[in-house]
C-alpha cells in the first residue's frame, strides 16, 4: 500500500504546530450595521492582516480623505460591485489564533440576501448577527435568525454594535437583548449569546471593553475561541454515503476493494455490524483505511475508505449504516426549500435533478404546500410558483429512493440540492422535514 505513497512523516498529529480545531461562522447584518468593520477588526487584531494589505487600505483611506484607516476596506472587495450591480456573493475570510482556525462566510445583506445567507449558514457552526444599537432589532435581524435556525446553525451570537454611539449604555443593550430573546424563544436556537461591541473602537471584539464594565461576558473573540462545537456533530447515527469505489487495477493491490467517502454522522469502528442500502444486506466492517494506515474509528468529517467482510454489490450513492439505526428510505420527500435561481421559478409539476449526499436522481415537484415569507413568516398556501430568494414547503417525488433523516437531526443526510436539467444550474437548497414552527 505504501508503493504509491510519497514518504510521509510518522504520526502526523504529533508535530503539528497548527493546533486546535476548525470553526466556521457566518456573519449577517443589514447594510451599514458594521459587518465589514467588525470582520476587519477581527482580522486586524488577530494579526491576520499583512503589511501590504494594510498599506493598500491606508492608501485608499487617505485617497478618500479619511483620517483613519477604514478597516472595512480590508474585506470590502464588494463595495465596488455593489455599485456596479454585479451579483453579490458570499466571500470567505480566514484567520487563526493559537486556539482555533476560523473560516468566515461573509454574506452581504441585499436582494440576493436569502440565497447568500443560506449558502453561508449551510456549513456554519455559528451565526453572528449584527444589530445597530441605535436601531435595535429590525425586520432583517429576525430574518437572519430565522434562516440561521432553519439551516440548523447550532450557535447564534448577537453583536449589538456601535455601542460607542449610545454612550455604552447598559439599558440600550438590555432592551435589545430582551426583545431579541423574546422572539428567538419561538425559534429553535440551541445557544444564544449577546455581546455589546464597538467594531470601530474595538470594544469587546478582541479585548474586554473598559467602557462597559457592566458587561460580565467574554469579548467576541474569546467567546468564539471557547465555543464548544464538538457536541454539535451527530455522533450517534452512523451514516456513510459511498462516494467512490476504490478498486486498483494494479498488480500490487489486486484484491483491494474499498468504499471511499466522508463520514456524514456517527462513529464507525472495525468489527461493527453494518447494513448497506439500498441492497439491504448486512455485513461487518473489516477495516477503515486511510493513506496513513488503518484507523480504529472514523467520525465526521473524516474522509476514509471502508472495507467490508463480505462482497456486496455497493456503488456510489449507496449508504452504509447500522442494522438497528437506519435512515428513512423514501421516494416521497417533504422539504423546506430556498429558491436560488433568478431566471426561472419553481413550479408544480416540473422535474429537476436532485443531489442528496452522493446520490443523484430526478425529482418532480408534486406539490407546493405553501410559501413562507421570510420577513413575516406568513404562510401563503395559494402560492403556485416560488421565485428567487423565496422559501417554500414542497413535496417531491423522486425516481429512486433516497436515504434521508430530518434536517434538524442530521445536516448531512437531511440536505439536498435541486439542479435545473436544461441549464445545469443549482436552483434550490432543500432541508428535509424542516421545521414547521414559526414565530
Amino acid at each position: 500500500m505504501t508503493t504509491t505513497l510519497p514518504e510521509t512523516g510518522s504520526a502526523p498529529e504529533a508535530h503539528e504546530v497548527v493546533s486546535g480545531d476548525l470553526l466556521r461562522f457566518a456573519t449577517a447584518g443589514s447594510v451599514d450595521d458594521g459587518k465589514s468593520t467588525l470582520i476587519g477588526r477581527l482580522l486586524f487584531d488577530s494579526k491576520s492582516i499583512f503589511a501590504d494589505q494594510l498599506e493598500s487600505v491606508e492608501q485608499v483611506s487617505k485617497d478618500r480623505g479619511n483620517d483613519y484607516a477604514d478597516l472595512s476596506l480590508l474585506t470590502d472587495g464588494l463595495r465596488a460591485e455593489r455599485e456596479q450591480g454585479i451579483t453579490i456573493d458570499v466571500a470567505y475570510r480566514y484567520f487563526a489564533t493559537p486556539k482555533r482556525k476560523f473560516i468566515i462566510a461573509d454574506t452581504p445583506g441585499h436582494t440576493q440576501y436569502t440565497r447568500n445567507m443560506v449558502t453561508g449558514a449551510s456549513t456554519a457552526d455559528v451565526a453572528l448577527i449584527l444589530i445597530d444599537a441605535r436601531k435595535g432589532v429590525v425586520e432583517q435581524s429576525r430574518r437572519h435568525t430565522f434562516l440561521a435556525t432553519l439551516l440548523g446553525v447550532p450557535h447564534v451570537v448577537v453583536c449589538v454594535n456601535k455601542m460607542d454611539l449610545v454612550d455604552y449604555d447598559e439599558q440600550v443593550f438590555e432592551r435589545i437583548r430582551a426583545e431579541f430573546t423574546e422572539f428567538a424563544s419561538r425559534l429553535r436556537v440551541p445557544d444564544l449569546t449577546f455581546i455589546p461591541v464597538s467594531a470601530l473602537a474595538g470594544d469587546n471584539v478582541v479585548t474586554r471593553s473598559e467602557n462597559m464594565d457592566w458587561f460580565d461576558g467574554s469579548p467576541l473573540l474569546s467567546h468564539l475561541e471557547r465555543l464548544h462545537v464538538a457536541s454539535d456533530r451527530n455522533l450517534v447515527d452512523v451514516r456513510f454515503p459511498v462516494q467512490y469505489v476504490i478498486r486498483p487495477q494494479q498488480n500490487d493491490a489486486r484484491d483491494y476493494r474499498g468504499y471511499a467517502g466522508t463520514v456524514a454522522s456517527g462513529v464507525m469502528k472495525p468489527g461493527d455490524r453494518v447494513l448497506a442500502l439500498p441492497a439491504g444486506l448486512e455485513t461487518t466492517i473489516e477495516s477503515i483505511d486511510t493513506a496513513d494506515g488503518p484507523v480504529d474509528e472514523a467520525y465526521p468529517p473524516m474522509s476514509v475508505t471502508v472495507r467490508l467482510a463480505d462482497e456486496i454489490d455497493i456503488s456510489r450513492g449507496d449508504m452504509i449504516c447500522r442494522p438497528n439505526n437506519v435512515p428513512t428510505v423514501s421516494q416521497d420527500i417533504d422539504a423546506q426549500i430556498c429558491w436560488m435561481d433568478e431566471a426561472a421559478s419553481l413550479v408544480q409539476g416540473k422535474k429537476y435533478a436532485i443531489k442528496h449526499t452522493t446520490r443523484w436522481a430526478r425529482a418532480m415537484v408534486k406539490k407546493i404546500n405553501y410559501r413562507v415569507d421570510v420577513n413575516t413568516l406568513h404562510r401563503d398556501e395559494e402560492a403556485t410558483e416560488i421565485k428567487l430568494n423565496e422559501m417554500a414547503r414542497i413535496t417531491l417525488r423522486v425516481t429512486k429512493p433516497l436515504f434521508v433523516d430530518p434536517y434538524q437531526q442530521n445536516r448531512q443526510t437531511g440536505a439536498f440540492i435541486l439542479v435545473d436539467e436544461a441549464t445545469n444550474k443549482t436552483v434550490a437548497a432543500g432541508m428535509i422535514g424542516g421545521p414547521t414552527r414559526s414565530y
Binding site: 466571500a91 440536505a415 437548497a429
Partner: protein, 300 residues
C-alpha cells in the same frame, strides 16, 4: 472517552479529499494543473492520499513555460516516479513557435500560458482541471467557488457561478464546458506550510534558505543566474534567501530568510507580515484587477 474532534489540518485535508473524490466520481476526464510550486505539490499529495492504494486516477499537466528552475523540474520528476501518475506537458515555447501566442515585451510568460493551457485541455478533452488556488491569496479570490465554471472558451463568467451549499457540489456541464476545481480553497499559506511539515512533503529546495548571490531590483531580490543575469552597473551580494513562490524563473524574486528547515519556514510564515504575491512576484505587483482579468481569460 475520545474527543472525536478533528484538528484543523485534518479537517482541511478531509475536505480536500472529499472534493477530489467527488470530481473523479462525477466528471469524465479530470486533470491536475501541476506547476511544481508548493500548492500544486500539496494537491498532488492529497490526490495520492484520496485514492490510495490505487494510483491517482487522473493525469497531471505541467504548462511548461521554458523558464523553469531546474530543481523544480527535478522535483516534478521525482513525484512522477514515486506516484506513477501520468504527466502531460504543454509547452509554451512550442506555442510561441507555432504562433499560437506571442512573447510579451517584459519577458513574462505568465499570461501567455493561458491559451497554451486551454488548447492542451481541449486536445485532451479535460472537463475538470484541479488548480491550487486559495481564497486567502487576495481579495478577488475570496468569493471564488470550489467548483468554478468556464464557458466553452474556457473563460470565467462572474455572473454565472453556482451557489455552493453544504458539501453538495454540482459539476454538471454541457459538452465543451469545463470546470476548475480548487480543493485548497479553504487553506491559508500557513496551513499549507504546517501541513507540508506535518506530512514531510517533498518540495523543490528553493523554498528553503541558503546563501544565494542576489541583486536588488525595485525592492526585490533576484538570484544571479542564467535567467536573471547581472546587468551593467549592478553589484551582487551574498545573502541567505529563500523563495516564497515559484513562478517564471526570470521574474520570481527571493526573500531574505534563515529558514533552512520546514519547521523554520512554518515559524517564519507564522510571523511574516507580507502576502506571498506582494513579496515575490514581479509580474503580479500590477494590481488586484489584473488578477481578476487573468481569471476571466481562463488562466485560473
Amino acid at each position: 472517552m475520545k474527543s472525536h474532534v478533528l484538528s484543523q489540518l485534518r479537517s482541511l485535508e478531509a475536505e480536500s479529499i472529499h472534493i477530489m473524490r467527488e470530481v473523479v466520481a462525477e466528471m469524465e476526464r479530470p486533470c491536475l494543473l501541476f506547476s511544481g510550486g508548493k500548492d500544486s505539490i500539496v494537491m498532488l499529495h492529497l490526490a495520492v492520499k484520496a485514492f490510495a492504494p490505487a494510483r491517482v486516477p487522473f493525469p497531471i499537466m505541467h504548462v511548461d513555460t521554458g523558464l523553469n528552475f531546474q530543481t523544480v523540474l527535478d522535483c516534478r520528476d521525482r513525484w512522477v516516479d514515486r506516484t506513477g501518475v501520468q504527466l502531460v506537458i504543454a509547452s509554451v515555447q512550442e506555442g510561441i513557435d507555432r504562433g499560437l501566442v506571442q512573447e510579451e515585451p517584459n519577458g513574462s510568460r505568465n499570461r501567455i500560458q493561458t491559451p497554451v493551457l486551454l488548447e492542451a485541455a481541449e486536445k485532451h478533452g479535460f472537463d475538470a482541471l484541479f488548480g491550487g488556488g486559495r481564497r486567502d491569496e487576495e481579495k478577488a479570490r475570496a468569493k471564488e467557488r470550489v467548483f468554478s465554471f468556464r464557458d466553452d472558451f474556457g473563460q470565467w463568467d462572474p455572473k454565472n457561478q453556482r451557489p455552493e451549499i453544504w458539501n453538495l457540489y454540482n459539476g454538471r456541464v454541457h459538452q465543451g464546458e469545463s470546470i476548475r476545481v480548487f480543493p485548497l480553497s479553504n487553506w491559508t499559506e500557513l496551513d499549507i506550510w504546517a501541513y507540508i511539515e506535518a506530512e514531510n512533503i517533498d518540495l523543490p529546495d528553493l523554498y528553503l534558505a541558503k546563501e544565494r548571490e542576489v541583486v536588488e531590483r525595485g525592492g526585490m531580490l533576484y538570484e544571479v543566474n542564467d535567467f536573471t543575469p547581472l546587468k551593467d552597473g549592478e553589484t551582487p551580494q551574498v545573502l541567505s534567501t529563500r523563495y516564497r513562490t515559484v513562478g517564471d524563473a526570470n521574474l520570481t524574486a527571493c526573500v531574505e530568510s534563515t529558514a533552512t528547515t520546514l519547521r523554520d519556514v512554518v515559524e517564519e510564515v507564522a510571523a511574516v507580515r507580507l502576502t506571498e504575491r506582494g513579496a515575490t512576484r514581479g509580474d503580479d505587483k500590477v494590481s488586484e484587477a489584473a488578477m481578476e482579468d487573468r481569471k476571466k481569460e481562463g488562466y485560473f
